[in-house]
Symmetry: C2
Subunit: 409 residues, 2 copies
């Protein structure tokens, strides 16, 4: 990989060759970051190169990705999700230039496909025949789907309480699913032991340094879709911190390669009931664990696995942390759906709830350009959609009844 | 619309000017078909025109669509779904050239978005402020989503038994949902009465002649994605008949405009428990109603609303009707998922089940090029995925238990 210099520990600065199965820092246990040779990259590509490309997926940005030039990638269309100018939504919020990036349209319906698509390529590079992780959510389904598309085996550890529907999706994708009759922590530990024992490729987030690199492609796309401009703000919902870290890495990459000439600010949105990363930024203290008290399960992470990169991203970008209640999240789900026809899962629309609050508090001005990322599809969590939705009009099959019902609305 | 000549009744050949709110034949009640001026179209566009276009949605084919040149369309990315070369799936079936078109990646996760996207444009052209239909399924959610994206009101009639989750999605999109405490027939009748009374735009399938035109864009894309070649076979699951009619119309349009030089054959797949269209073709008799005995709810249509166009399409294409059991459908769901990473709903994978059968019966040869359309996303019907999926391995949190469990698999 001529575009990659090395992996660098974000805690102790130790560096390592970028091997596919190097995960964390062997000296201090810190998280590693992929470092690129931007001079090399900027000699290879520029705006015109990209504008001329016919590959409409995250793989149009291979020069920015830590994979071997000749490595085969999944045929699934991961990335190049649509960026919509959200006129009516913008009007309602009082924003003249609001965009929505719908990452729920990825193959397994969430932004996590971008990370898993990289993971399966690195697994093949490492010569592994099995990839593994512990998760019940979007990481698991995206890994199972992407692995299936590449003919790789997947072994996924889920806690016993995982909903049947989510487990079914993994099984449909042919993953071996191990349901651990214990807590999430038990599940994670058993997965780590098994990964070690069988030498499987490890897709546990914030352990594997390559996942964030896949996630960053959402920012590369945003910039290109805005004709190589960074917006003033990018709004992201935050759980374990990997997504916002990826979003920031993407813009920094483009800046360092000379493709954009300024960086956006990040609006980091967490659920009020589970906001360890935002609390650390707000109080300027080290992060501490929190209970997971929110219905937005994809961001209900009390012990974030990537707090350092996330906190760095928010601070470096001169960003803003903002917390929202579950009710505000449910309201945002309806608000987004009925103004734009986009159906987001609770974690996917938490960003919008935070944006609404930030605008109403005067923290974001009406003329700033804002991109809100919807990170997952509402079909993933229909139970919460039911809570948000309200009730239909119930009528007997007669026109008089219908007239009566319409009058009372 | 200079590209459109008129609407023509497929029963009595009466013609009508193509007004947005002309629905069925006022003389015999027959279904109308949009007739184009192919000479005009072929002067406007050719392969090179399309190859150079940057619009990657169904709207890249505006010259083939019955909408006014200046009519605004929904910003949602409807269409241009990926066409995957399905290597492993093909190997297993014994097909050297198999492709899968994943229409579950549309904005509301089904092929029906293509029809609803046209419906909302025609509603605006008709000056309506509300569009309406009766449905609980993909037609309803696609209409609600597309209407929301255009700032149109939607009024959707559902029978009282409609699942809460499906109703919730409509409400999230801001539709007014009328839950009729009666049968589907009661629901349909009340919707028709209300549409008449309030002059709403009518999106009931096979009544509105423009919907099929939206659906046909799936074929325009297939041909372009295969570099302007028609495959030997296109595999489609069939319910009310509108989708297969649309698929056929698309290829015929391209042929008549000189963009392809031959037509594919259609494999029409229905559930054995509900196959009035296939039965009519197989027995060469007029169609008759059937019970709706299948779990594939999106194609469980005992009284199809568009049998004539569908039967014509199968016959004209020298096509083949094939029926599959519910078990074959569930098997296909797993089969598709684990060989390719695509998660289809039961109706969405019924086509694949039929394809498998047709190949094993020698009706499709190993070297023929086949495109299988996946019409809807599996996240729409997780309950049936659970039936298909099987069970995870259940273990206590210990390595010994895990070893034991792996041995017994």
């Amino acid at each position: 990989m001529e575009n990659v210099k090395h992996l660098k520990c974000i805690k102790c600065n130790a560096t390592y060759p970028a091997k596919p199965d190097t995960y964390t820092c062997s000296q201090c246990g810190g998280i590693l970051d992929v470092r690129y040779d931007y001079e090399y990259i900027s000699q290879k590509v520029n705006k015109e190169t990209f504008n001329a490309r016919k590959e409409f997926s995250m793989w149009r940005y291979r020069e920015f990705l830590p994979i071997e030039e000749e490595s085969p990638v999944s045929p699934l269309r991961v990335g190049w999700s649509p960026l919509y100018k959200a006129e009516r939504l913008g009007e309602t919020l009082g924003l003249s230039s609001l965009y929505v990036k719908d990452d729920g349209l990825n193959p397994t319906a969430s932004l996590k496909d971008r990370a898993s698509a990289v993971a399966v390529v690195k697994a093949k590079e490492a010569g592994a025949d099995t990839v593994a992780c512990s998760s019940t959510g979007n990481a698991a389904s995206s890994l199972a789907g992407n692995a299936a598309s590449m003919g790789l085996k997947a072994c996924i550890f889920v806690p016993g309480r995982a909903p049947e529907g989510k487990v079914a999706q993994l099984l449909i994708f042919g993953a071996r699913v191990v349901s651990v009759q214990g807590s999430y922590e038990d599940t994670f530990k058993l997965s780590a032991e098994a990964i070690e024992r069988w030498g499987w490729y490890n897709r546990n987030a914030a352990i594997n340094p390559y996942l964030v690199e896949g996630k960053k492609t959402v920012s590369l796309e945003i910039a290109e879709q805005l004709n190589w401009q960074a917006p003033d703000w990018v709004v992201v919902s935050v759980g374990d911190g990997c997504t916002i870290a990826g979003v920031w890495k993407g813009f920094k990459d483009l800046y360092q390669a000379g493709l954009i000439d300024r960086l956006p600010r990040l609006l980091s949105v967490q659920a009020a009931g589970c906001c360890p990363i935002n609390r650390a930024v707000m109080e300027d203290k080290p992060w501490e664990p929190m209970p997971e008290d929110t219905l937005a399960d994809s961001i209900a992470v009390g012990v974030p696995r990537n707090p350092d990169k996330a906190i760095n991203a928010i601070k470096e970008s001169n960003g803003l942390p903002i917390n929202v209640s579950d009710q505000e999240i449910l309201d945002a789900m309806k608000f987004l759906g009925n103004s734009s026809g986009i159906f987001g899962e609770p974690a996917g629309v938490a960003g919008l709830a935070g944006l609404k609050k930030a605008v109403s508090e005067g923290k974001i001005s009406h003329t700033e350009t804002v991109v809100n990322i919807v990170t997952g599809n509402g079909l993933k969590d229909v139970a919460n959609a039911v809570k948000a939705a309200g009730e239909p009009l119930r009528v007997a099959p007669s026109m008089e009844e219908l007239l009566q019902a319409f009058k009372t609305v």
